[in-house]
Each structure stands twice: as C-alpha cells, then as structure tokens.
C-alpha cells in the first residue's frame, strides 16, 4: 500500500488527528496547513488529496481549480458547511466527493479507501479477485488455477457479484441476472445458488449474505 495522501487543513488539532489516522491506516501523509498555489509537481505521486475548503492563504475553491488544471488526482473535500452551493460548486470544479464535519475517524478512512480503490466496476472479460479468476469469454472459473465446474446460473451469479467486488448487490438485481423466470420463479432460488457456490469454490473468496439487500463478494485481502 503506502499510498501518498496530501492533506490541506488549517486547523492544527484536526490536521494532527487526521494525519495520525492516515498513518496508522498505512498511508504516507503530507500536511499543508494553508492554501498554496499548487503545481503538478506538488501532487506528483499523490494518490489522493484531502482538501478543506475554508483555508487561509489560497482559498480552497481556488486551490481546487488550479489543482484540476494540472492534475487528475482524486480530491476529497472537507466541509463544515451546510451550504449546498459550496458542495455543488466543489463537485463542479472537479472534486470527486465531499465529507462534512464532524466525521468519525473510521468514516474518514473508509471514504479514503473507497476513493482509492476505484474504479470498482470490472468490465472486461477477465475478472481477477485474489485466488479467484473468471474468464467470461470461455467461460470458465478458476480458484488458484484449478478449474471449478459451475452451472450456467451459478456462473451468472458469481459474475454479477464479481463485477462489483465488496459491494452489496440486491436480490432483485441478482434475480434479474441469474434466474430463469420460467423455471426459478422464487427469489429463494438465489439462496440455493449461493449455498452451492460457497461449497464449490471453497474459502478463496467469500460470498456474504447482506441483510435486507442480497449478497456481496468480499474483495481479496
């Protein structure tokens, strides 16, 4: 991991806690305590910028504008404001997301991770998740190189989950993609597929039941 994160935050206490949290989570954090004129060199190798909008020196919005002019680095905006205008403006200027204060440290880390692991959608024919490898062109599924025999419905089920690893997929969406409406009318059939899949591909990748939603394929560690 050891991805670099640039934090631009003027509040000394908040800045210190955020930096400590980021380091504990395994990131390399750089901290600017004021708004500066940012150049492409400043953000070279930076995986994510966390930007407070209310800054001394170069204002946050201005900084965001110049940053966007020279770099594609994802930006997570911190805002204490209720003001919708600011959020919309920041997003229009190219911020990727925003987080309003107060926030929990876990929330911050989760949001940082979510931002860094994009794009989440796996669109190609080959999907690799740890020990699991799906080749949809053939189609075949291998766990640690070993071919796993799946029914067509099971393959569709696994594909639907694997395209959005770590995200819960609703039963309705799965039923639409997996079930044959003529043969498997009830959504309960999904549970049967899930249970069989769990048995077949062992502990390589876990298929979790998500209460009230459906299933989720845990991403590889």
């Amino acid at each position: 991991m050891n991805e670099r994160i640039l934090l631009i935050e003027d509040d000394p206490e908040l800045g210190a806690t955020v930096v400590a949290r980021l380091r504990r989570a395994g990131y390399v954090a750089t901290w600017w305590r004021e708004g500066r004129h940012v150049t492409a060199d400043d953000v070279r190798g930076v995986a994510l910028v966390i930007l407070d909008l209310m800054l001394p020196g170069v204002p946050g919005m201005e900084l965001l504008r110049t940053l966007r002019a020279c770099s594609e680095v994802p930006v997570l905006v911190l805002s204490a404001r209720l003001d919708t205008g600011d959020k919309v403006h920041a997003l229009r200027l190219g911020a990727d997301d925003y987080m309003t204060k107060p926030f929990w440290p876990e929330e911050l880390i989760e949001r940082v991770r979510a931002r860094l692991r994009r794009p989440a959608l796996q669109r190609g024919d080959v999907i690799e998740l740890g020990a699991l490898r799906l080749d949809l062109a053939i189609p075949e599924v291998r766990v640690r190189g070993e071919l796993v025999a799946l029914t067509r419905a099971e393959l569709r089920f696994l594909t639907a989950l694997a395209r959005r690893p770590g995200q819960a997929v609703t039963r309705a969406s799965l039923a639409e993609r997996v079930l044959d409406p003529e043969r498997e009318a009830t959504a309960r059939a999904l549970d049967v597929h899930a249970s069989r899949l769990r048995k077949k591909r062992g502990d390589a990748v876990s298929i979790e039941t998500v209460w009230g939603i459906g299933y989720r394929l845990e991403r590889a560690p």
């Binding site: 209720l82 987080m99 989760e110 959608l121 995200q167 609703t170 998500v210 939603i213």
Partner: protein
C-alpha cells in the same frame, strides 16, 4: 360663484363691497394677464405663485410694475395671516378684519395708488395656504389698450381663483380626512380601515391605502410569527442540545472514574457516548436545516445529485454509530448510476435522518439496510429498512400527520422519530418526492423516499 364685473362682489355678510377704483385709463395695459378661465397659466409665468422662503425670485421689481404693467402676484398665508414667504406683504389690518368673516375681501377704493389687493379665504383652514392674497396693479402698460379701463375687470380673475378654490375645497377636505385616517391607522399598526366612501379618485386612493395596509399588516403578523417561532426554536434547541451533552458528560465521567480506579475500558459506556455524539451532530444539522425549511420561501439549491455517492456517504457516516449500537448497517447502489435533481444537503440529511432513526430505535444485533433502486423507469427510490420494533399502522398515520409540523415533531416521543422524520417529510415535499412508511418484510420499519430520476449522463 363669480359674478359679472361691475356688479360688485359682496362678502357673504355684505359688509365688504368691491367698487370701481377708476384709476385705469382706456388703452392702458397695466394688467396683461386677464386670461379667461380655462386658458391655463400664461407661458411667461406672469402669475407668480409665492415661493417658500429662500427659494425662487421675489415679486417683480417695482420698476417693472411702473414701466408698463406687471402681472398679478399671489401670496399664500396661513389662517393666522402669517406667510412662509418673506416677500409676502404684511396683511393690512383692515383686510385682516374683513377676511375674518368673509370669503373674499378687498380694500376700499380710497386706497391710494394703483395697487389692488384682494384676499381670498381658502375652503380649508390648515396649512400654509389658508388665505391667498392677490396683488394687482392698474399701472398703464402696452396691453392695456385692449382692456377695459375699469380695474373692476380684475374681479373675474379673482373670482375664478376663488371658484377654483371652492371647487377644490371638498376634494382637499377629503384628502385631509384621508391623511388623518392614514395617520391614525399607522399609529394603530394599520389595523383600522381608512377607506372613504365614494367612487372618485380619492376614494380609490383610500382603498389603495387599505390594500397596502393589509399587506403591511400581514407582513407584520408574519414577522411576529417568525420572531416567536425563532424564540421557541432557540429555547427548544438549547434544550435539545443540552440533554445529549449532559448524557455525554456523564459517560465521559464514568470512563474517567473507571480509568482512575484501574478498570478496563467499558465498551458499553464508550458506545453510549458515541451514540450521543452522533445524536448531537444530527440535531445540529437538522436544526440548521429546519431553520431553512421554516423560512416562508425555503431556498432550495437544486442540482443533479449522484444518488450512489449519496448512499455511500450516508452509510459510511453512520457506520461508527451502528457498530457502537451493535447494529449491522449496509447499503446497496445500482450498477448504473442514478441521479436526481435536488438540494444535496437537504436530501442527504433526509436520508441520514431515516438511517439514524433506524439504527437508534433498533435493538443490539439488529440490521439496517439502505437500498437505491429503480422501482419504475425514470424513478429512483431510496429505501431504508430495519428489523427493529417497527411502528403500528395507526402510529404511522399519526406520525405522518404530525411530522409535517415541526413544532410537534421535535419532542423525543416514544417510538420516537421526532424532528428527523419531520425534516425528511418536509424535504420530500419540497422536492416533489414521496415519503412512505410501511412495515418491512423483516418485521421492522420500511421507509421509501421516491423521486424522478434524471436522464442518464451521456459519457
């Protein structure tokens, strides 16, 4: 009102008669301003209305008069015969006595010189124009050749003036009455009507005043209502914030005491403190939003909102709180992004409130799920379900009814959705979204917030 020249015009008590003065020779054009009524004022401004002190020129210089006719000059006086115009001549004692009980007075013909003075009583007694003195002259001038030698022909001018004054009298009196009524009404907070009977312009004006007064009155009432609401709001807010702060202080004290006595971390206390912090944050955000929604015209900054990102934010925001209460929280978004037109702060707070309530009123070991779905083409639905105690149907109806009114919804009622639900309801209404409460298939509550989806963005 005007009598023909030569007959003499009498005051209403017959004491003061205007007679011929006989100083004007034929061919003498001393007064070249004798336009009949209706001809309007002369182009050269020969009839000078008196100006306020310090403004405008004084009357024509004496040489102009002597050289060949000067126009009649008018001077205004208050009812006590004082004039605001410093150039106004002092009223002769005899004239003053004569006007005391007459509408028009002039000096007797024995007055030497060519000057003619006529004093007219206006139909009103207030103000600086209650008496008008007209000063003419019979000095010869070039125009005089066309005019009769008798200065008595001056009379029609004054008679017309008098007639106009009399005709305007009722109107002026009505205007004064209207002014008095408006003043009185204003003193009483515009509560008294000022309308005058009739169908003339003044009555129309008075009705316009009444309409304006109604608007002013409504504004005043609205301001008073808002001020009252604000006072209650601050009082309630203080209470709402102070209570969880007190609870939080207690939890922190418990933790410190346990730490001092060498006890281990008390997870239950930490969890409770966490919940109170979450509750405080939610209250403050809701109060800020409630203030916005309480404005008579809530400002709603609508822009396309990415609903997937919104769900992610709300779920991640509540994870810590959910873990502290041992409630599993998960969110599901769509494979293709959905957007709607909304005020992102409001919509996010509405969904936050639903999620907050679902966690808060759930039991340890419970579940909450947030789902973004497309129930129909062009529609996007944010659904929050839980397996908590739920709410009986009749209570749901009551909540929806009361929830629309924030004042009743703010209290933490048992089963308590409170201010959060009220705000969600009002945000939904403001965005033309529907908010439905029902029973979830898992036994708890199901809340659906449904609105129009924006056309997918073309890449």
């Amino acid at each position: 009102m005007s009598e023909p020249p030569g007959h003499g015009l009498r005051g209403d008590d017959s004491k003061h008669t205007i007679e011929k003065t006989g100083h004007l020779a034929p061919g003498d054009g001393s007064l070249h301003r004798t336009a009949p009524p209706g001809h309007g004022p002369p182009g050269d401004g020969a009839i000078h209305m008196p100006e306020p002190p310090g403004h405008g020129p004084p009357g024509p210089p004496p040489d102009a008069r002597s050289r060949g006719g000067a126009p009649p000059i008018l001077f205004a006086y208050a009812s006590d015969l004082r004039s605001a115009n410093p150039n106004a001549p002092a009223i002769d004692r005899r004239l003053a006595a004569a006007i005391a009980d007459a509408d028009l007075a002039t000096l007797d013909p024995l007055w030497p010189g060519s000057e003619v003075l006529v004093l007219v009583r206006a139909p009103w007694d207030e103000g600086p124009c209650a008496r008008i003195l007209a000063r003419g002259t019979t000095t010869p001038g070039w125009f005089g050749a066309l005019l009769p030698a008798d200065p008595l022909w001056l009379l029609p001018v004054f008679a017309v003036l008098f007639g106009v004054a009399l005709a305007a009298g009722p109107a002026v009196r009505r205007i004064q009455r209207l002014a008095a009524r408006v003043r009185r009404s204003a003193e009483g907070g515009f509560s008294e009507p000022v309308a005058l009977p009739g169908d003339d312009e003044i009555a129309e004006l008075s009705r316009a005043f009444d309409r304006a007064a109604t608007t002013v009155r409504d504004q005043l009432r609205e301001n008073q209502r808002r001020e009252q609401a604000l006072r209650e709001f601050v009082a309630n807010t203080t209470h709402d914030v102070m209570t969880p702060l007190t609870v939080l202080a207690d939890h922190l004290t418990t933790l410190r005491e346990r730490a001092e006595s060498g006890g281990g971390a008390d997870l239950a206390t930490v969890a409770a403190a966490t919940a109170e912090v979450q509750y405080l944050g939610a209250i403050i955000e809701n109060l800020g939003l409630a203030a916005k929604l309480d404005a008579s015209a809530p400002t709603c900054a609508r822009a396309p909102v990415e609903l997937d990102a919104l769900v992610d934010r709300v779920v991640s925001r509540h994870q810590t709180f959910a873990r502290a209460r041992d409630v599993a929280l998960a969110g599901a978004t769509l494979e293709t992004p959905a957007r709607t037109l909304a005020d992102v702060t409001m919509l996010e707070q509405a969904l936050s409130n639903l999620v907050h309530n679902a966690i808060r009123y759930n039991a340890p070991g419970g579940h909450v799920a947030v789902l973004l779905e497309r129930p129909a083409p062009g529609r996007a639905r944010l659904r929050v379900i839980d397996d908590g105690p739920g709410i009986p149907d009749e209570a749901i109806a009551r909540l929806l009814q009361r929830g629309a009114r924030s004042d009743e919804a703010r209290t933490r009622e048992p089963g308590g959705q409170g201010l959060g639900l009220s705000i969600a309801l009002r945000v939904a209404a403001l965005h033309n979204m529907t908010l439905e409460l029902g029973r979830s298939e898992h036994g708890g509550l199901r809340v659906d917030l449904t609105g129009d989806e924006l056309e997918p963005r073309r890449a």
